[in-house]
């Protein structure tokens, strides 16, 4: 392979070269047209802006070659051309400051039940909440990275069990889920009032990664893999 010669600036023109000047002018107009448009621009749309008889193919080729190694590229799509950020920069551009979004009330409720009752199945969550839980709510919680699919309950239907992650502990400033306040503390904080029947109990939660006796491992189903955070996330 031969080393490419240092390229001369595409936009550099000797003042006396009229044809080259026209080409560069057209090149700049094509560049500006692509820049100002969020959709692909086709040759027909460019034509009225360019010099008569402009070779649009040559112009877009020259521009595409010039942009090839830049942070923005010229791509041919849908019969036209458009500027796009270079695909390899996606990671650098993607780590934007995340948008802060408050968790919905339903999601907080489900999260709270998972935290206290883990490992817990969806049916058990619904039993406690008295309402059905939408798939979306669990999906959002999985997206937060605060809950994970733990395994399956050894019971008819083999329902998935949910538990919290170490990211959950970080988020809520807990050292361990066992630090979640119990009944007396909740009462003391005024969150539970006195109308609590005898026999009411709050479980002592555990997010131990080893499965319980009534749990068995998840099969490597594609669904589970996309939803659950990598297992390594939970080792803390």
């Amino acid at each position: 392979m031969k080393k490419p010669a240092p390229r001369i600036d595409l936009f550099d023109v000797r003042p006396d070269d009229e044809r080259a000047a026209t080409f560069v002018r057209d090149l700049r107009v094509v560049e500006a047209l692509l820049f100002t448009s969020s959709a692909p621009v086709d040759a027909r749309a460019m034509r009225p802006h360019l010099s008569e008889g402009a070779d649009i193919g040559a112009l877009t080729d020259a521009l595409a070659a010039d942009y090839a190694r830049r942070g923005v590229n010229v791509v041919k799509v849908a019969g036209g051309w458009m500027l796009r950020t270079a695909p390899d920069l996606a990671p650098a551009l993607a780590d934007l400051v995340p948008e802060q979004r408050r968790l919905s009330r339903a999601a907080v409720e489900v999260l709270a039940i998972i935290a206290y009752h883990q490992p817990v199945t969806r049916a058990e969550i619904e039993e406690i909440r008295g309402v059905s839980t939408s798939k979306g709510t669990l999906d959002v919680l999985l997206e937060t990275g605060w809950i994970r699919l733990r395994g399956r309950r050894k019971a008819p239907g083999r329902p998935v069990t949910y538990g919290t992650t170490s990211a959950f502990l970080v988020q809520f400033g807990l050292d361990a889920v066992s630090d979640l306040p119990g009944m007396d503390e909740l009462k003391g904080a005024g969150l539970l009032d006195g109308r609590i029947p005898a026999g009411f109990a709050i479980p002592l939660p555990s997010d131990d990664i080893t499965l319980r006796e009534d749990e068995e491992p998840l099969e490597p189903e594609p669904l589970d893999f996309t939803l659950s955070p990598p297992p390594g996330d939970d080792e803390g």
């Binding site: 100002t36 969020s38 934007l96 948008e99 408050r102 999601a107 809520f172 909740l186 029947p197 709050i202």
Partner: protein, 268 residues
């Protein structure tokens, strides 16, 4: 510079190379604007302008305008009054012990005010001559959000949110368990107990509709199914034990219930 360079009224005598003024105050942005236009006819730098000559020009102009039309905005008249005052101060010898600024200082301050407006106007011109966004220069079109890398979402919730949500739910559930569930479901034993009470009071010596006996409960939607089902099961149990007879005319027809004759029961 003499005051003879007045703008002409009407357009009968436009001199070559001279700007001819048409009396049309609508075209002016107030008295200072008019004064600047008049000053331009002095053809000198604003810093060397004769305020006295300018005052004369202005006063003459206003005089002519008033002759031509009746209405003049108050701004123009106030300025005319002030310039007439300034003119008299400039022409008369200064009194020996003058309080406040001298006539020359007033004139200088006035000239400075005119220069200021002139500068601001030039600056405004320069400003407007700059390439303006979406007029001469164009920004990137607001990109299609789908084409951009997705902005990640960071969900937030506080420990308080979490604990209060948990306590709220458990509390509601605990209370509902105590009050509702007990009534909502009739156990077989409860249903039987009720039926036996009925039997004991000899109310079932003749055929009686089961739903009539249960009418108090069947009107409550939350209890209808459980009351009916448990009671029916209880009657079947009692039939097996020879305590009652039941019959039904047709599918879905009312169930009839009657205590079995004692002797017959004993015989079985």
């Amino acid at each position: 510079m003499a005051g003879g360079d007045f703008p002409e009224l009407g357009d009968e005598r436009p001199e070559s190379g001279e700007e001819a003024f048409v009396v049309d105050l609508d075209g002016f942005e107030g008295p200072l604007d008019l004064l600047l236009a008049l000053a331009r006819t002095q053809k000198v730098d604003l810093t060397r302008i004769s305020i006295l000559a300018l005052a004369n020009q202005y006063l003459t102009f206003i005089e002519e305008a008033r002759r031509g039309r009746l209405e003049l905005a108050a701004d123009y008249l106030v300025m005319a009054a002030w310039l007439a005052y300034l003119k008299s101060r400039l022409l008369l010898p200064a009194p020996p012990q003058e309080e406040g600024p001298s006539a020359e200082e007033l004139a200088e301050a006035f000239a400075r005010r005119l220069r200021h407006l002139e500068r601001i106007r030039k600056a405004a011109e320069q400003l407007m001559a700059r390439p303006q966004m979406e007029r001469e220069v164009f920004a990137r079109a607001r990109p299609d959000p789908a084409s951009l890398p997705q902005r990640p979402v960071a969900y937030t919730a506080t420990l308080y949110d979490l604990l209060s949500a948990y306590a709220r739910q458990r509390q509601t559930q605990a209370l509902s368990t105590v009050t509702l569930k007990m009534r909502a479901v009739w156990s077989l034993a409860e249903a039987r107990e009720r039926l036996e009470r009925l039997l004991g009071r000899d109310l079932l010596t003749d055929w009686m509709r089961l739903d009539q006996f249960l009418v108090e409960y069947l009107t409550r939607p939350d209890q209808r199914a459980t009351a009916l089902a448990s009671s029916f099961s209880a009657t079947l149990e009692m039939v097996r034990e020879g305590l009652v007879d039941i019959r039904q005319e047709a599918p879905f027809a009312p169930l009839w219930l009657r205590a079995r004759a004692r002797g017959a029961g004993e015989n079985t």
